[in-house]
C-alpha cells in the first residue's frame, strides 16, 4: 500500500500532531539540512504550538528553526547539542518552558528505549525512499551516508514520517529503515545540500601545533599497548584526529597491524584505511564526508549501525563503544580533574554538543583528549571547566603541544606513565599544564552566569552532570 502523502501538512495532520507533543529528526545532513525547517514551517502553519523537539543534535542547518523558538511553536528541546546561534538565543532570552536537556548520542537512544524521551512523530529525512516507506540516506542526489540515528527513533516513535527528495516506485535498496516502521512518505523538492555534511576536516592538519600534538598522540597510542593486531579504534574527525589516523596508518602498515574495526563518525581517512586492509570493518552511525557517503553504499564492510548499537548504555550485551581499545577526542576545556567540556566556550556560551564524546570516553580502554594548550587568550587547561560533559574518571590522558598528562587517579594508568617515560615521551602533570597555559594567557576571571538554568547536561545514566546558565544580567 502506498504511504505517499502529498504535503507535510497533510502527513502531520494524519499523524494527529497536537499542541504539547514531541517530534524528532536527525542531524545527519549537518550544515546542509533543509528538511527540519520545512517540517517546522508546516507545523507552524497548522497553528500547532508548544512543541518539544528531540533531534539527535542541532547543527548550523537548523538555525532556520530560530523563528519557531521565538514564536512559541517550539517550547522544549531535548538534544545532544545546539549551534552557537541557538545557544546565544537561549542564553539571552527565556523562551523555553524548561532547560534544554543535553544527552549523549548513546544516552538519547537509551532514553528513547526507556520512554524517558517519548516521541509522538519522528521525521526522517531520507535521500531515497519508496512509496511503502523503505528508505536510506546513502543513495540518491542528496545522499548523506549512514542514517543510524533515526534507526532508533523509528522503532520507538508513535508515528513516523519519511521526507524524501527521491521517491522510487520500486522497493528501495538498501532499506536502511524498513517500510514496516514507517507510516507516511512525503516527497519534497529537497531535503538539503549534501555538501553541507562535510563539516569535518577533510585533510590532516599541517598546523605545527596540531602536528606536534598528533605526533605525541600517535606515540602514546603505540606505547600504550592499545594498538595491536585485532584492536578496535575510534579516531574522530577533527584535524588533529585525522593527522593521528594518518600516522597510525603508516605505523600499522609498517608493523602489519590490522584493526578489527573502527567506528563512530566516519571520515574518508578511515575509508582509506578500510580499503587498504588496515581496518577489517567500519561501523558508521554518521558519515562525515563524500568519500564516507559513497563507501556506505559501495563497500559491504562499511556498515550502518543504529545509535543504540553504537553507544546506548542499555544496549543488550553492551554497545560497540564498550569494545573500543582507544578513542581520540577533542575539548574546548579540560580541568585539573580531567573533566572535559565540549559544549561551551571558555565564557560559558553554548557553542556545540556532547555528541558521542561521553559514550566513547566511557566505553574505551584508553581515552585521549587532544587540544592546544590555549586558544587566543583562553587557556584550555583550567581549575574547573565551564561545563562538564565528560567526567574525568573516563579520561586517561590529555595531549597538548607541551606534552602528555596522564590521569593517574585511574589506577591502571600509573603503569602507562612509566611506559611513556621509558619511550622518551614528555609526561607532565595536568597541574603543570594549567600553570603553563596561564603563563601565556593569564588567569581567567571566574565564570559569571545568570541565575536561570538554560541547559542541563545529562550523563549516560541520566543523572545531571552540570547545568549551564543564562548570560549574566
Amino acid at each position: 500500500m502506498s504511504k505517499v502523502v502529498k504535503t507535510l501538512k497533510s502527513a502531520i495532520q494524519l499523524c494527529g500532531l497536537e499542541d504539547g507533543m514531541t517530534i524528532s529528526f536527525h542531524h545527519n545532513l549537518r550544515s546542509g539540512d533543509r528538511a527540519a525547517a520545512q517540517i517546522l514551517a508546516a507545523i507552524a502553519s497548522l497553528g500547532i504550538k508548544d512543541i518539544t523537539i528531540a533531534p539527535t543534535s542541532l547543527l548550523p542547518g537548523h538555525d532556520a528553526l530560530i523563528p519557531y523558538i521565538e514564536d512559541g511553536t517550539i517550547t522544549r528541546i531535548q538534544t545532544s547539542g545546539v549551534t552557537p546561534q541557538i545557544g546565544r538565543l537561549l542564553q539571552s532570552r527565556a523562551l523555553l518552558k524548561q532547560p534544554v536537556e543535553m544527552r549523549t548520542h548513546g544516552s538519547r537512544a537509551a532514553a528513547l528505549e526507556s520512554g524517558e524521551i517519548w516521541v509522538n512523530v519522528a521525521f526522517v529525512a531520507a535521500s531515497q525512499a519508496d512509496k511503502y516507506g523503505g528508505c536510506n540516506g546513502c543513495a540518491g542526489v542528496s545522499a548523506f551516508g549512514s542514517i543510524g540515528y533515526s534507526m532508533v527513533d523509528v522503532r520507538y516513535a508513535e508515528k513516523v514520517i519519511v521526507v524524501t527528495d527521491q521517491l522510487l516506485d520500486e522497493p528501495v535498496h538498501p532499506a536502511s529503515i524498513e517500510q514496516s516502521s514507517v507510516n507516511f512518505v512525503v516527497p519534497v523538492e529537497s531535503i538539503g545540500d549534501p555538501a553541507g555534511i562535510a563539516t569535518a576536516s577533510l585533510s590532516p592538519s599541517r598546523n605545527p601545533v596540531d602536528s606536534l600534538i598528533a605526533d605525541m598522540t600517535a606515540q602514546l597510542i603505540i606505547h600504550s599497548g592499545c594498538l595491536y593486531d585485532g584492536c578496535r579504534m575510534q579516531t574522530g574527525a577533527g584535524k588533529i584526529s585525522l593527522a593521528v589516523a594518518s600516522k597510525l596508518s603508516r605505523y600499522m602498515e609498517q608493523e602489519q597491524i590490522t584493526a578489527d574495526f573502527a567506528m563512530g563518525g566516519v571520515t574518508g581517512a578511515m575509508v582509506e584505511m578500510l580499503e587498504k586492509g588496515q581496518i577489517r570493518a567500519l561501523y558508521d552511525v554518521q558519515s562525515f564526508d563524500g568519500r564516507a557517503v559513497r563507501s556506505v553504499l559501495d563497500n559491504d564492510r562499511h556498515m550502518e549501525v543504529s545509535a543504540t548499537a553504537y553507544a546506548s548504555p542499555s544496549a543488550k550485551g553492551g554497545a560497540i563503544v564498550d569494545q573500543l581499545d582507544f578513542t581520540i577526542l577533542g575539548a574546548t576545556e579540560i580541568d585539573t580533574g580531567f573533566n572535559v567540556n565540549v559544549i561551551t566556550d571558555s565564557n560559558g556560551c553554548l557553542i556545540s554538543g556532547t555528541g558521542g564524546h561521553g559514550d566513547s570516553a566511557d566505553g574505551a580502554q584508553l581515552t585521549i583528549i587532544t587540544a592546544p594548550l590555549y586558544r587566543m587568550k583562553y587557556p584550555t587547561v583550567t581549575d574547573r571547566v565551564s561545563a562538564i560533559c565528560t567526567p574525568g574518571r573516563c579520561v586517561d590522558a590529555f595531549v597538548c603541544e607541551k606534552g602528555i598528562a596522564v590521569n593517574t587517579e585511574i589506577e591502571h594508568n600509573r603503569e602507562l606513565v612509566f611506559r611513556l617515560r621509558d619511550a622518551g615521551l614528555p609526561v607532565r602533570t595536568i597541574q603543570d599544564m594549567k600553570v603553563e597555559a596561564e603563563r601565556f594567557t593569564g588567569k581567567l576571571p571566574p565564570l559569571r552566569q545568570g541565575g536561570r538554568t538554560v541547559a542541563k547536561v545529562l550523563w549516560r545514566d541520566g543523572t545531571v552532570l552540570d547545568e549551564i546558565g543564562a548570560y549574566p544580567e
Binding site: R206, P208, V209, S211, L212, E401, K402, R439, F440
Partner: protein
C-alpha cells in the same frame, strides 16, 4: 650543537612568536630584516623584545638583524639590550669588517652581564659575499657558521632562481667547502615552495650529500621533512655501532669490518652518526 633546521619567524607576528617554541626547529631565527616590512620594524622590535623578556620561550634562537652597514642595525641592537637570545644572524655579509662590527656590538651588549658567548651566523647573499666568505668567517671567533641566501644571491647573479636551484650549485658547493675549511657549520639555503614537501625532500637530500649540517626553513611544515633527511637511518646507526665496536676490539690498531678496512675517516664518520643519533 644540533643544527639540522633553522626556522625563520617574522618578529612582527605575535601568533608565530608565541608558537615558536613548539615548531620543533633546532634553531629559531626571529626575523627583523626582510620578513618585516619597513613600516613595521619598530613594532617588530618591541614585540620581539617583550616576547623574549617574558620567558615564554625556551628554544635556541638567533635574531636576524638588519644589515650591519645599514641604519637599522643600531636600532636592532638597542632593542636587544638585556634580552635573552643566543646569537645574531647577519644578512648579506660581504666584508670581514661587518662581522667585526657585529662582534663588537655583541661585546658591548654583553659587558657587565651574565650572558656571554653569543655567536654570529653569516649569510652569503652576493657573489662578493661568497668570494669573501672565508675571511668573513675568520673575522671573529664568534662566527659559528654560514648559510646561503638563495633569492638575493640569484638576484645578484642576475638570474631567475629555478625550481631545481641549478644556478646556485656552484655557490652551494663552494660555501660548504669554505665552511669546512674554516671549521664552521654550514646550513643549506631555504627551499622557497612551502607547499612542495617532496621538492623540499629532494633538495635537502642533495644539500646533505654536499656536506651541509642542516637546512634553513621558511615554514614549520618543512621541519619534519628536513629532520627526517638529516636523521641517520637505522641501518646507518647499526653500521656505525659495528664500526666503533670493531675499533674498540682492535684496541687502537686499524680494524677490519666485513672485509673492509676501517681507517680514520670511516671512524670519524661513524662517531659523527652516533653523536647525531644520540642528540635527536
Amino acid at each position: 650543537m644540533l643544527l639540522r633546521s633553522l626556522l625563520f619567524i617574522p618578529a612582527d607576528s605575535p601568533r608565530m612568536l608565541l608558537r615558536s617554541d613548539v615548531m620543533r626547529a633546532d634553531m629559531i631565527i626571529f626575523d627583523l630584516e626582510d620578513g618585516v616590512a619597513p613600516e613595521r620594524k619598530v613594532q617588530a622590535r618591541e614585540l620581539l623584545r617583550a616576547y623574549l623578556m617574558s620567558g615564554l620561550t625556551s628554544c635556541q634562537c638567533m635574531v636576524r638583524v638588519n644589515q650591519v652597514r645599514g641604519p637599522e642595525f643600531a636600532k636592532d641592537m638597542a632593542a636587544l639590550r638585556g634580552v635573552p637570545f643566543d646569537g645574531l644572524y647577519l644578512p648579506k655579509v660581504e666584508q670581514p669588517e661587518e662581522v667585526r662590527q657585529a662582534a663588537e656590538a655583541l661585546e658591548s651588549l654583553e659587558a657587565g652581564t651574565e650572558k656571554t658567548g653569543r655567536f654570529l651566523f653569516n649569510t652569503v647573499e652576493t657573489p662578493l659575499g661568497l668570494e669573501n666568505a672565508m675571511a668573513c668567517m675568520q673575522a671573529s671567533e664568534r662566527v659559528m657558521g654560514v648559510c646561503l641566501g638563495s633569492e638575493d644571491y640569484a638576484a645578484s647573479l642576475g638570474v631567475q632562481r629555478s625550481e631545481d636551484y641549478t644556478e646556485l650549485d656552484y655557490a652551494r658547493r663552494r660555501l660548504v667547502n669554505l665552511a669546512r675549511a674554516a671549521g664552521r657549520k654550514a646550513v643549506d639555503t631555504v627551499f622557497a615552495d612551502a607547499a612542495d614537501l617532496e621538492g623540499l625532500r629532494a633538495q635537502t637530500l642533495y644539500g646533505k650529500r654536499l656536506g651541509y649540517d642542516g637546512k634553513a626553513a621558511i615554514s614549520p611544515a618543512q621541519i619534519p621533512v628536513i629532520h627526517s633527511v638529516f636523521a641517520p637511518s637505522g641501518e646507518e646507526v647499526r653500521h656505525a655501532r659495528e664500526v666503533v665496536r670493531a675499533l674498540e676490539q682492535a684496541a687502537g690498531a686499524i680494524a677490519v669490518l666485513n672485509g673492509k678496512m676501517i681507517d680514520k675517516p670511516v671512524a670519524e664518520q661513524a662517531r659523527h652518526i652516533l653523536e647525531l643519533a644520540q642528540s635527536i
